[in-house]
């Protein structure tokens, strides 16, 4: 979805000279459409993410809308305190673009995984946290949020081909999107995890269980009313995220359930303990950590058919 994002960013930059792009020396075969079109509005700051965010803060104070680009952990965790004290605390429109949520950089190993980025970005007041599910939604989300007055974090997949069926480029800042309807169980997926959630729903259907699948791509400000309304329709819901089980969507949904005393049991499908000795494809790692379609279906079936599953 980074290609769709950059393509749309170029189009927005044609209309608005405030848009700048900074990268921490990453983005080969991704950022070129911007750098070719706007060489004077592109800065490779080198391998220096803290300075990148600091410079963006200075640029934003002067009226620019700087997008800073890196692989998700380097865009969020390395400069975290600069994000907190800079654009967040000073309420400036810096856009943090983190590529590769979850295990997308699987063969690169744990240093490149992004499994806690949403957990650390979500508490920051005034920071919008956007986790698009596929390329068309990434484009729509960018167009809906690029000129928000406060800072934004975009968690983008580098995969440009994987599409969530039924999503059709829909995006709303204050709500999620239902991509499949069923009355037995609710599956709520954070952004790109909707792809595996849909596979899980298909597997459940083979077991006679009809699932509604909803995509949440705005993690902050949380679409509380939307999540609450969904949960009220079900007695069982599973959250799915390419993220640690703590601090992301599973935590958010559990907060809604607890605070509103909604009678719905929650199963959190996310990464528990990281098998840090493992590298491999995204698909392999998703399966190994229980967030692939079959893992999601199995987790739900363990609750609905406890005897059959044993």
């Amino acid at each position: 979805m980074r290609t769709a994002f950059v393509t749309n960013l170029v189009e927005l930059a044609e209309q608005d000279p405030r848009i700048l792009l900074l990268t921490g020396d990453l983005g080969f075969m991704a950022v070129e459409p911007f750098t070719d079109r706007f060489p004077d509005r592109f800065f490779n700051v080198g391998v220096a993410e803290q300075n990148m965010v600091g410079v963006a803060t200075g640029l934003a104070e002067a009226g620019f809308i700087p997008f800073v680009y890196s692989i998700a952990p380097f865009a969020t965790l390395r400069p975290y305190e600069f994000i907190r004290n800079g654009p967040v605390h000073q309420r400036l429109p810096v856009r943090i673009v983190g590529i590769g949520g979850g295990f997308e950089y699987g063969t690169n190993g744990p240093s490149h995984f992004a499994l806690e980025d949403v957990a650390v970005m979500r508490p920051l007041p005034g920071l919008s946290v956007i986790t698009p599910a596929d390329p068309a939604q990434a484009a729509a989300a960018l167009r809906a949020t690029w000129d928000l007055p406060g800072p934004v974090y975009y968690r983008l997949g580098k995969n440009d081909s994987r599409v969530v069926p039924g999503l059709d480029g829909r995006y709303d800042l204050d709500r999620g999107q239902v991509v499949r309807e069923g009355s037995d169980v609710l599956i709520i997926a954070m952004g790109a995890a909707a792809y595996e959630a849909m596979i899980g729903a298909d597997l459940l259907a083979h077991n006679g269980l009809q699932a509604t699948v909803a995509v949440i791509s705005t993690m902050s400000p949380p679409p509380l009313a939307y999540i609450s309304a969904l949960l009220h329709q079900f007695r069982l819901a599973a959250t799915v995220e390419a993220h640690y089980r703590v601090g992301g969507l599973g935590s958010l949904v559990s907060e809604v359930v607890a605070e509103q005393a909604i009678p719905c049991r929650i199963i959190r499908c996310g990464v528990g303990a990281l098998h840090s000795e493992l590298v491999g494809s995204e698909q392999f790692l998703a399966r190994a950590h229980g967030i692939s379609g079959d893992g999601i279906a199995a987790a739900i079936l363990r609750v609905t058919q406890p005897l059959a599953a044993t």
Partner: protein
């Protein structure tokens, strides 16, 4: 030279008075930069209105000495006496570290190593907007322990940000001792020069020298500039000079009376 009523002695009197009233420390650091801050706000910064988008920018990277900046802002008339007298009281805007909501404070600071990157962004923004405005940052010498300072130094040199001035308050002391004993920065001027900056070593307690040096810089082209401002921690109050405890401690009544007499004020 230093005009607009921003006199370092006035800054010191305000620093001592407000520190005493609020019963807080960081007095030595604020005294250390009193001349530099006087020159910045009394002469160097081209700011007619602190809300003018095309004003020069100033980043108090060593945010813990913000009281000296508040003093200068009050002397410029941007911070009222009422606000100043609220320093560190419950609900005040003016804390130990500066906030952007205060008129004349361009960036919030407090965490060392974050100020220079923001000043670099401010300087780059000026260039992109075809403005002649400049960006100034006042760093502590120990702040140069932070790797992010050197990230910013390299970027600024790469882009030849001639409209950027870093000023290093080189008092040779840090929180738990002397810089020489903790992380030796020497030769500090050579290090900045090796990274491609225009380096000027100057007496940080000589307003005329500071002004002359700032006036002599080429803000139109060439490398970014750094003033290694040699200072004395606690400058102007004899019993505080070079004494580590004044990084932390508030003053007793006797110490306050004695300190105020040294800076020509009434306790």
């Amino acid at each position: 030279m230093v005009s607009l009523g921003v006199d370092p002695q006035n800054i010191r009197r305000i620093v001592l008075t407000q520190s005493k009233r609020a019963n807080v420390g960081h007095i030595g650091s604020a005294l250390s930069v009193s001349y530099i801050v006087a020159v910045v706000f009394g002469s160097a910064l081209r700011v007619s209105d602190p809300h003018d988008p095309d004003r020069d920018r100033f980043v108090m990277a060593k945010g813990h000495a913000a009281l000296a900046v508040y003093a200068a802002l009050s002397l410029r008339g941007w911070v009222s006496q009422e606000m100043l007298d609220g320093f560190c009281t419950d609900g005040s805007e003016l804390g130990v570290h500066p906030e952007r909501s205060t008129p004349g404070v361009d960036f919030s600071t407090g965490s060392l190593g974050q100020g220079l990157p923001m000043a670099v962004g401010a300087a780059l923004a000026g260039r992109l907007q075809s403005s002649n405005r400049r960006a100034f940052a006042l760093l502590s010498d120990a702040e140069c322990n932070e790797g992010s300072v050197w990230e910013a130094v390299m970027f600024a040199a790469q882009h030849q940000l001639s409209n950027l001035v870093a000023m290093v308050d080189a008092n040779g002391q840090q929180a738990l001792g002397s810089t020489r004993d903790i992380i030796n920065l020497s030769p500090l001027a050579d290090r900045w020069a090796a990274f491609g900056w225009d380096v000027r070593t100057v007496n940080g307690h000589d307003c005329a020298a500071l002004c002359t040096t700032l006036d002599s810089l080429d803000y139109r082209q060439g490398p970014p500039h750094v003033l290694i401002a040699e200072t004395i921690f606690g400058k102007g109050v004899s019993f505080m000079e070079r004494q580590l405890k004044w990084h932390y401690l508030p003053m007793t009544d006797e110490e306050f009376a004695s300190a105020m007499r040294e800076v020509g004020g009434q306790p």
